[in-house]
């Protein structure tokens, strides 16, 4: 297995802290720029939907949140796999770093979906295939978070949570299929979202805000990883201090 030098070099937590400190401001600035552009065009400039009216603007938050919560889960599972295969020390940590961020995006997706459903479908919640899959994804995230926090030994929690993320990602297509199968069973011709074709005026702000949210996701995960590494360092330092104090006394 050929490994790129960057992959290996960043395994050193000190170097990771240094490099990430350089990248982070640019990443967050770019995220804010894209978000500002995408949300301004989406919320102010883009035309309202001919059927749904202005409530379609929820889409510019809702759809990127859905994409990113799904992509985040996939990324988390890939990180967990990397941790198992290459014993990359930061990959384990990134499972713990990604999970709450992905869960937050899934929660945003569910909340905005509910707010969107009220005016368009006339109800806060529909047992629609897509909504239900997102709910299950949210629960899978909560399971990973709970397992990561269930152990005294943090690295044990990281590894167990990573393994669970891998199991979850294998099962995700089956869960999604089963939920959709169940949906057709109980609700033939259920309510669908506004259709698969989307006008360019709406696509442009959607893509801008999706890029913005993706950068925001990456930035927050990076910040969490930096905080986790710092906490780890602090714990080690405290332990060393305590040992020195014991030796002195």
């Amino acid at each position: 297995m050929q490994q790129s030098p960057g992959w290996h070099g960043l395994a050193n937590p000190h170097r990771f802290q240094r490099v990430s400190a350089l990248i982070l401001p640019w990443l967050m600035a770019a995220a804010l720029g894209f978000l500002a552009a995408g949300l301004f065009i989406g919320l102010v400039v883009a035309p309202p939907d001919y059927l749904q009216g202005p409530s379609v603007r929820i889409m510019y938050v809702h759809v990127p949140a859905a994409w990113l919560s799904l992509g985040g889960y996939l990324g988390m599972a890939i990180a967990a796999l990397a941790a198992r295969v290459w014993r990359h020390p930061l990959a384990d940590l990134s499972v713990r770093a990604i999970a709450p961020v992905g869960a937050a995006f899934a929660a945003v997706c569910l909340l905005t979906g509910s707010l969107w459903g009220r005016p368009t479908w006339g109800t806060w919640w529909v047992w629609d295939g897509r909504l239900t899959s997102m709910l299950v994804l949210f629960l899978l995230y909560l399971g990973v978070i709970a397992l990561a926090h269930a152990y005294e030994d943090r690295s044990r929690g990281d590894r167990a949570a990573g393994l669970l993320a891998i199991v979850g990602v294998i099962n995700l297509p089956i869960i999604k299929y089963s939920v959709e199968w169940w949906n057709t069973l109980h609700q033939p011709a259920s309510i669908r979202l506004s259709g698969s074709t989307i006008h360019a005026d709406m696509l442009q702000p959607l893509l801008l805000s999706a890029v913005g949210f993706a950068l925001l996701f990456a930035g927050v995960v990076l910040m969490r990883m930096r905080a986790l590494i710092a906490a780890q360092k602090k714990a080690v330092r405290l332990r060393r201090k305590a040992a020195l104090a014991d030796a002195g006394a």
Partner: protein, 216 residues
């Protein structure tokens, strides 16, 4: 010792332990009945309504019953050093996990199927027509046992107890529940079998890896 003989020995050990402590082994089927009774009290004793929802009720009851043994699946072996002993003898944790899956599936399914008839009678369903439901519960129960096996190994030594187990197991069990409870629909038995097969194939590998993590 060959692998089949080793598996047989490990399964026999688990079964013997369960037989020695029957009160523990009978708790899941008792719980299964209790959930069915709870639904009858909660929804009212109207026979038609209960019979209509009986299939779904029994699937939920089976899923809840499958949660009960999870915490104890590996706890004793972990605490008394059996896990380490087996590792010292060169027995892979995956082998132990496969044996535990077989044993725990038998210990979940056989008592559950034994109390299926009284459960159906309590819900006002004629048990003579419940052959497909029994078959699906047996198959689905195997899938639930496979999931329980993974979750039991993953949560070994974890805080959080039953709530954590339920949070991990329930989302992953949804396909089994959906295909099992939707048994009358076309293709459901085959989809159930496929979902269960995947879980059974995955379970020893994941549980074995999790046991390695637990040993540190």
């Amino acid at each position: 010792m060959t692998l089949p003989a080793l598996l047989a020995r490990l399964v026999a050990r688990d079964l013997a332990r369960a037989v020695a402590r029957p009160a523990e082994a009978l708790l899941p089927p008792l719980f299964f009945l209790l959930v069915a009774i709870l639904f009858a009290f909660a929804l009212g004793g109207e026979a038609g309504l209960l019979a209509r929802v009986a299939g779904g009720v029994l699937w939920v009851a089976a899923l809840l019953a499958s949660l009960l043994p999870v915490a104890g699946l590996y706890a004793a072996d972990w605490a008394d050093g059996t896990l380490d002993q087996l590792a010292v003898r060169g027995i892979a944790p995956e082998t132990l996990a496969a044996a535990r899956l077989l044993a725990s599936a038998l210990l979940l399914l056989l008592p559950l199927l034994a109390v299926l008839v009284p459960a159906l009678l309590l819900l006002g369903v004629d048990p003579r027509g419940a052959g497909p439901l029994a078959g699906a519960l047996a198959l689905g129960g195997l899938g639930l046992a496979a999931l329980a096996n993974m979750v039991g190994a993953l949560t070994l030594g974890a805080r959080g107890g039953g709530g954590l187990v339920a949070l991990l197991l329930v989302p992953l069990a949804l396909p089994v529940l959906i295909f099992g409870a939707g048994l009358e629909a076309a293709g459901a038995p085959r989809l159930l079998a496929a979902a269960v097969l995947l879980l059974v194939a995955l379970s020893p590998l994941v549980a074995g890896t999790a046991l390695r993590l637990a040993r540190g």
